[in-house]
Amino acid sequence: MFPGVDGFRWTVGHILFLSLFFAVALTILVTVVSAVWRTVRDFRTNRAIELCWKSDFAQLPETERRCRHELAGRVMSRTCDNAFDCRQCSNYSQFAVQSARGIVHDLGLNYSNDRFYHRGHTWVKPEEDGTLTIGPDELAQHLIGSPDSITMPKMGSEIEVNGTAWEMTKNGNEIRVRAPIEGTVVGIGGPKEGWYLKIHPRLDPNDPVTLRHLLRGPEVHFWLSRELERLQLQLRPANTAPSLADGGVLMSGLMDAMPESEWGTVLADTFLET
């Protein structure tokens, strides 16, 4: 193997063989080291969360990947191919100019026009001092009721869009709530304060692109009514046929009221988990 070994003699055969072998071994080594190094670099440059999200998004069922423009009635049918990242979507401008169509139901859920909604069921509210407050939307609150425990990020820590905002547990289920926008945590609230996190956004909140990926206005109606349909199907008792009731409002504390339902799937679809 090496010239130091007893009786080793260099021949053309040795040169060819060993150079080929070492070239192959080097290629394999470089590949592995490269993958490891790139992984480390992704974590250092905060790209890790984005990559995880893209990968998770691809694992979501197709019904959970409807484009917002389909929900809003702007297009017939479209699956999002960009991990809900409307900020980088090349088709956004052509769809956004059309008006949202659809029937507005009274869903019995509070949502307001001064808030922007993330597909993972959190809202974002721009405050006057340039910060953004974040909290869970009513559908999420109605599902969970009062959580058994909440784990908040530390003050001053960074949260990434589609990464983890906070984590909750309820009835043995672990729920990870996705962050609707990236920024630094400057305030921590809770159920009593009416908001959960106050963040200093990384991007300029006055730039319309910053909040482009969040739903607002009539879009929220259509999205929530789809979500309620999904919940009705998923929470029905086992072995009953699916039915879609008209009217009715969402009761609160569903996880306590219906402990026998398949909460794993419901929570995964609601909070965009795999």
């Binding site: 590949t31 990968s55 191919d81 086992a238 794993g264 995964a268």
Partner: protein, 420 residues
């Protein structure tokens, strides 16, 4: 809904249906027994020595070497599919890629495991790396198979990391993403290594000037068996993948790949098999008429011993070569699933017969004028050890099928799906 009721549903991808854990364990149980028996038999051989086998000074290679060569030929689908998908960009074979990697991993790790028992002094295995003999085909085999097994492990890791629970660790998921991006490099390296070791396995026999039954002319240092082995391996690799996938579909009761994938694999297999048959026929004619007589061995003497007469040669080239090549490529027969799979089975049997002829028949035949034709029957330890490899393979594949996205299709839309 069904998967959420399973005891281990946390580990199974969402939306995938699997049988109950209990049923799965019932399926695994006999294979675990077979595997355990294999481990015991192997342990006996390692502890007491190779006298536990029926190999002897005349049959220095036996069942294990024959099956090693066979299994490595059948596992060639791994590198060849990778080559077709990543290098030649044949995306229609994508659905079978993960299965190919797992099957390749099983075949090569199993073969290396058996080789460790087959040698008299396993702890000296590193000597080949420290004192390589660049003239020996076996050195080439050792180096290439070791490297290639490493490559297969590296290709298997991303599939493993896509398990539902394992992917929740961000470092695993990001590493999987980065490794997956480099898989084309690994596929290229794997193709190069496989080209050499599949060939060298053939070269093992083609260079034996002391065994004119196996000895062949060649190109530079490589005897014709070098190229014939490569051809037969890439011809039967896709067929073996077809058989594995069809079996999995039968056992699980669901359709896992687009139906015309079978026909495509069959066509590739059939064309390559046809080329192989042509090359082998030419090689056989040269050997019969020139190579063997030139060293004083009249070829008809090889076929004078029952039951290893001329019908074996005929069977190898025509029944298990030309016939499946035709059935796999001719449209009318390829369209019928039953015929297609039978042809694939014939092709795989053909490659096994070829390996058998070269490993076992070569040693049975006399060389000295006063030698006799010898017989050899493997001992139960040899059979059980190899049964252990089969059990190991079924267990690994079953676990991979249950917990990993082997056949996951891109879930609609034009998303980049890492790993489907």
């Amino acid at each position: 809904m069904a998967s959420t009721a399973l005891a281990d549903s946390r580990w199974i991808a969402r939306g995938e249906e699997r049988t109950s854990l209990r049923q799965f364990l019932v399926w695994l149980a006999p294979w675990v027994v077979v595997f355990a028996l294999g481990v015991y038999a192997a342990g006996l051989c390692l502890y007491f020595g190779l006298n536990q086998t029926n190999m002897d000074n005349r049959f220095a290679f036996g069942l294990w070497i024959f099956l090693d060569l066979g299994v490595i030929a059948l596992g060639a689908g791994a590198f060849f599919t990778g080559f077709l998908v990543y290098i030649l960009k044949r995306a229609e074979l994508q659905p079978i890629l993960n299965t190919a990697v797992v099957v390749g991993f099983i075949c090569y790790s199993g073969a290396v495991g058996i080789l460790m028992i087959d040698v008299g002094q396993p702890l000296r295995a590193w000597f080949t790396f420290w004192h390589p003999n660049t003239h020996s085909m076996l050195t080439e085999v050792t180096f290439c198979i070791s490297c290639y097994l490493l490559v297969l492990c590296l290709e298997y890791i991303p599939i493993l990391l896509r398990n539902r629970q394992l992917r929740k660790l961000p470092s695993f998921l990001v590493f999987e993403h980065q490794l997956h991006k480099l898989v084309p490099v690994l596929a290229g390296v794997g193709t190069l290594l496989s080209f050499f070791h599949q060939g060298s396995l053939g070269g093992l026999y083609g260079v034996l000037r002391g065994r004119p039954f196996a000895f062949r002319q060649g190109f530079l240092i490589w005897p014709s068996t070098f190229f014939l082995f490569i051809l037969s391996a890439i011809a039967t690799g896709p067929s073996f993948l077809m058989l594995v996938t069809a079996t999995v579909e039968k056992v699980t009761g669901r359709r896992l790949v687009p139906p015309d994938l079978f026909r495509r694999l069959g066509f590739i297999s059939g064309v390559l098999l046809g080329i192989y048959v042509a090359a082998k026929s030419i090689d056989t004619l040269i050997w019969l008429n020139f190579t063997s007589p030139s060293v004083g061995f009249a070829p008809w003497q090889y076929y004078s011993y029952k039951p290893f007469g001329l019908p074996i040669l005929f069977a190898e080239i025509v029944v298990f070569g030309l016939l499946p090549a035709f059935l796999l490529t001719y449209r009318r027969s390829a369209q019928r699933r039953g015929l297609l799979l039978s042809a694939a089975a014939l092709a795989c049997a053909g490659v096994l017969l070829n390996r058998f002829v070269l490993t076992v028949q070569t040693l049975a035949l006399p060389t000295l004028a006063f030698d006799e034709f010898l017989h050899y029957t493997p001992s139960w330890q040899e059979v059980a050890s190899f049964g252990g490899v089969l059990g190991y393979g079924v267990i690994v594949y079953s676990l991979s099928y249950r917990y990993l996205p082997l056949f996951a299709q891109p879930k609609g839309g034009n998303t980049h799906v890492s790993g489907s």
